[in-house]
């Protein structure tokens, strides 16, 4: 009887397995990939590394937000998709006063909000005043500080917001007064904090002075960009669809873009391979060799205006001695790290500003060298011959698959080349930021991506008063050189001052630049006209989708 029962069970198991297999086979019947279906509808599927924390241009701080916002809004000035030169956008033309302190923008009268009303100079003034309003607590308000009185208003020293150096001379003329000449001001204007918002719309949702309001929701948001917000569900996706009121709507090929916030880089790659994405945000270095081998056409690597570096806490020994810092900076084989862990041929960094940032180049002789013998000598001079007697220091980095292997490799290089023991210390993102802010580190991983394509975007970080200057580096000569650069009339003169400043900083070596960023990602052959530039700024307007490609 037992046998009988066992037999029956066995049979049942076989039947169940068969049913499962059949079901699997049926669903295996040729599946049309979501990417092709979307391409037929003119919808671009993009991977986005993180979910937007906010879609309010005043409050957005990250690149994943900017990717979406640059489709939804249009600033005064745009950037050429390749060269990043300022091009007309909401403003059709502009004038700069001879002292470089006054900008007058003439707005395009045909520009409309997605509710049909015209985009006016008043909307810009409203938006900018909102950003600097201390009550809003916009994290990136500091990007507005070149504008006259912006800093004073934001810090509460000036309570009258109307003193902000931005005035609507008429509905279509906007005058901006700067605190000091800022040769890079036009390139700042396509950062999202400078985007206009519809005053009418925000007032309707009571959003003028508050962070928490519903104006950024799909049915509520009024935009002036090529797209409008159609759907937003946290951790699922953000969809934007074509804005019929956009003045250039006829030349926009896409019907929409879906941004998928895929936080796991391997998940994103699998999604791309399963045909669920047209463009990924990035690709895991572990996959790069295989992709190069199997489908190199889908792999893209664009230079990006960013640098990955380690910084020293120069306020505390042993890194208060510039010889120690330079020894550390000179004993890392950057090429080996790039080839081992990054795999996409990133450029090794021996200086802080990426080469060719708006034509700026620092001479090789002024950069940090890779010279182990010299490094050992410097360390010996500082009193630690062969690393003897060197105190135990920590290398602090935030938890990430990208940072860990590099930190491990650098730790070994310092041990091998200098004989010093460095302990790795990995912290969560907020704890890492807090440690950095409070100077509670010896060496810390860091990185910087330029907000605008000019060397100032990098070099300003080392001004004595800069909030990002966590290293404690402070040099009056450096500050003076940057100021001289701002006042330079000639481009060559400005760059010379900047180069002198950078060389001065590198000589003191508060940082160890490791490599310059590249944007490495996969792109489907269905996507045509995808341009790239240093800022990873993509204009969706010109992008076309061809569902037949790559069949």
């Amino acid at each position: 009887m037992a046998e009988n029962f066992a037999e029956r069970l066995k049979k049942a198991a076989v039947v169940a397995a068969a049913v499962f297999l059949c079901a699997a086979c049926v669903s295996c019947a040729k599946r049309e990939t979501p990417a092709r279906k979307a391409a037929e509808r003119g919808i671009l599927l993009m991977g986005n590394a993180a979910d937007p924390a906010s879609l309010d241009p005043a409050l957005s701080t990250g690149l994943s937000e900017f990717k979406i916002l640059s489709g939804l809004f249009e600033g005064l000035v745009g950037a050429d998709a390749r060269t990043l030169r300022p091009i007309p956008a909401a403003a059709k033309s502009w004038k700069i006063s001879s002292d470089g302190k006054k900008y007058t923008f003439y707005l395009d009268e045909s520009a409309k909000w997605s509710d049909g009303s015209p985009v006016t100079a008043g909307d810009f003034v409203f938006a900018w005043k909102r950003v600097v309003n201390p009550k809003l607590g916009a994290e990136y308000a500091s990007l507005m500080f070149p504008i006259k009185n912006a800093r004073a208003i934001n810090s509460g020293k000036l309570s009258d917001a109307s003193l902000l150096g931005a005035k609507a001379l008429s509905d279509y003329v906007l005058e901006v007064e700067l605190e000091e000449p800022a040769p890079y001001f036009l390139s700042l204007l396509y950062h999202n904090v400078y985007f206009p918002v519809s005053q009418k719309n925000l007032e309707k949702f009571n959003a003028a002075q508050t962070r928490d309001s519903l104006w950024t929701r799909p049915q509520n948001m009024v935009c002036n960009g090529a797209f409008t917000l159609d759907y937003w569900s946290i951790n699922e996706k953000v969809s934007v669809r074509k804005n019929p009121f956009y003045r250039g709507a006829k030349s926009v090929y896409l019907n929409g873009v879906d941004f998928l916030p895929i936080s796991n880089i391997n998940t994103e790659d699998r999604a791309f391979r399963a045909g669920q994405l047209h463009i990924t945000d990035s690709i895991a270095p572990s996959r790069i060799d295989a992709v190069k081998r199997d489908s190199p056409a889908t792999l893209r690597s664009d230079d990006w205006l960013g640098v990955y570096y380690y910084m020293f806490n120069t306020r505390k020994p042993p890194f208060d001695d510039s010889r120690v810092r330079r020894a550390f900076a000179m004993s890392i084989d950057r090429r080996l790290i790039i080839d081992s862990f990054l795999k996409a041929g990133q450029k090794s960094a021996h200086s802080f500003v990426p080469d060719n940032c708006d034509g700026y180049v620092l001479d090789d002789s002024r950069k940090i060298k890779y010279d182990i013998a010299a490094a050992q000598k410097l360390l010996a001079e500082a009193g630690y011959p062969g690393g003897k007697g060197f105190p135990k220091v920590r290398l602090t980095y935030n938890t990430s698959e990208q940072h860990k292997p590099i930190a491990e490799a650098v730790q070994q290089m310092w041990k091998k080349n200098l004989g010093v023991e460095v302990e790795l210390y990995n912290l969560s993102w907020p704890a890492y930021l807090a440690a950095r802010r409070e100077g509670d580190f010896e060496i810390a991983r860091s990185s910087w991506v330029g907000d605008f394509a000019a060397p100032e975007s990098f070099l300003q970080n080392f001004e004595s008063a800069n909030g990002l200057n966590h290293t404690g580096f402070s040099d009056a000569k450096y500050d003076a050189l940057l100021r001289a650069a701002a006042l330079s009339k000639e481009r060559a003169q400005r760059f010379e001052n900047l180069a002198a400043a950078e060389a001065l900083m590198l000589e003191s070596a508060p940082i160890v630049p490791l490599y310059f960023y590249s944007r490495v990602y996969r792109i489907s052959p269905m996507v045509e006209n995808w341009t790239s530039n240093l800022l990873d700024y993509h204009d969706y307007k010109g992008v076309k989708l061809n569902p037949e490609a790559g069949k």
């Binding site: 962070r211 928490d212 999604a271």
Partner: protein, 309 residues
């Protein structure tokens, strides 16, 4: 019986409050505020943000206003997602997790009980050992290995499903639910099997067989009823865990569920969100434990009698 459950619920209330209070103060002792950004945020801005979210008040005042809002069922705005309230996010994401967790629970029960009983049915034979051995695999392989392996096989090789996402309903749920279920299935299989084996040797089973009852009948009617008992008490907390989402599975399959908030809110210092997650979980745990008590009473009159005391 009713009295038993009322008293259990009444007992749960202080438990709930102690948890909420403990976590409320704990999150505020974690270094790094919720508003730190890569770029330096000015002191004034931080002060404005702290005062907007009431973080500049003394802790006791914060706690009181938190309780006041809680009484109204308002968990406050999310610190990370400007413009979204915690209530709204949890409501939206709970639906996804309930769906996924429910499916996973069903799979886990069917698979676990099936394997467990089948293993127990074979009298100490090799098949029984093999089945229980297989069921242990679920406990031995972390989901972050199992998930990607399943995706590689079923999505990228066999091309059956999407590799991630939550849009294509029936097909998108299969792999994540299965990945999630396997671990629980293994536990259920183990619990049900060991109880079933034990019951088989009991006197009443032998009596029933001697009396001429069919073996299958004895098995299904007598043994199973007793063998589900440990499973039911296991299901309580397990269901709470399943329905509140799983970080690993939701990350690997890119599912917009609750599980990711449990981790990300803690990593981002999103205070209000942490509180929301903790409260939701506690409510789930308390509710499902009650439910499993209830089920136990329904299955076993002896337990019901004890509860009536």
């Amino acid at each position: 019986m009713l009295k038993y459950f009322t008293s259990r619920i009444l007992e749960a209330i202080p438990v709930f409050f102690i948890i909420v209070t403990a976590v409320f103060f704990m999150v505020r002792f974690v270094p790094g505020g919720p508003f730190d950004k890569e770029r330096a945020v000015s002191e004034e801005t931080l002060a404005a943000l702290n005062s907007y979210y009431g973080l500049d008040e003394p802790l006791v005042v914060q706690y009181c206003s938190f309780l006041k809002n809680l009484a109204r069922g308002d968990l406050g705005p999310s610190f990370k997602y400007a413009g979204w309230s915690v209530n709204e996010i949890l409501r939206e994401k709970a639906l996804v997790s309930l769906e996924l967790g429910g499916c996973a629970l069903a799979i886990a029960l069917v698979l676990g009980l099936g394997v467990g009983f089948a293993a127990a049915a074979f009298p100490s034979g090799k098949i029984g050992a093999a089945l229980s051995g297989i069921s242990l695999v679920g406990i031995c392989l972390p989901a972050f290995v199992l998930g990607p392996v399943l995706i590689l096989i079923f999505c990228l090789r066999l091309n059956c499903f999407n590799a991630m996402g939550w849009s294509d309903f029936p097909s998108d749920i299969v792999l994540p639910a299965f990945t999630l279920a396997l671990f629980y299935a293994a536990w259920i299989a183990r619990l049900s099997r060991s109880r079933a084996v034990e019951e088989k040797s009991r006197g009443y089973v032998r009596t029933a067989v001697a009396k001429g009852c069919g073996k299958g009948r004895v098995y299904f009617v007598h043994i199973l009823r007793n063998a589900v008992e440990p499973v039911i008490s296991y299901i309580g907390p397990a269901a709470a865990g399943l329905l509140s989402g799983s970080f690993v599975v939701e990350t690997i399959f890119q599912i917009p569920g609750l599980g990711r908030f449990f981790i990300s809110s803690a990593l981002d210092n999103d205070y209000t969100m942490i509180m929301g997650c903790v409260m939701l979980y506690s409510v789930f745990i308390i509710a499902f434990n009650l439910l499993s008590d209830f089920l136990l009473a329904a299955v076993n009159p002896k337990i019901a009698k004890e509860m009536r005391k």
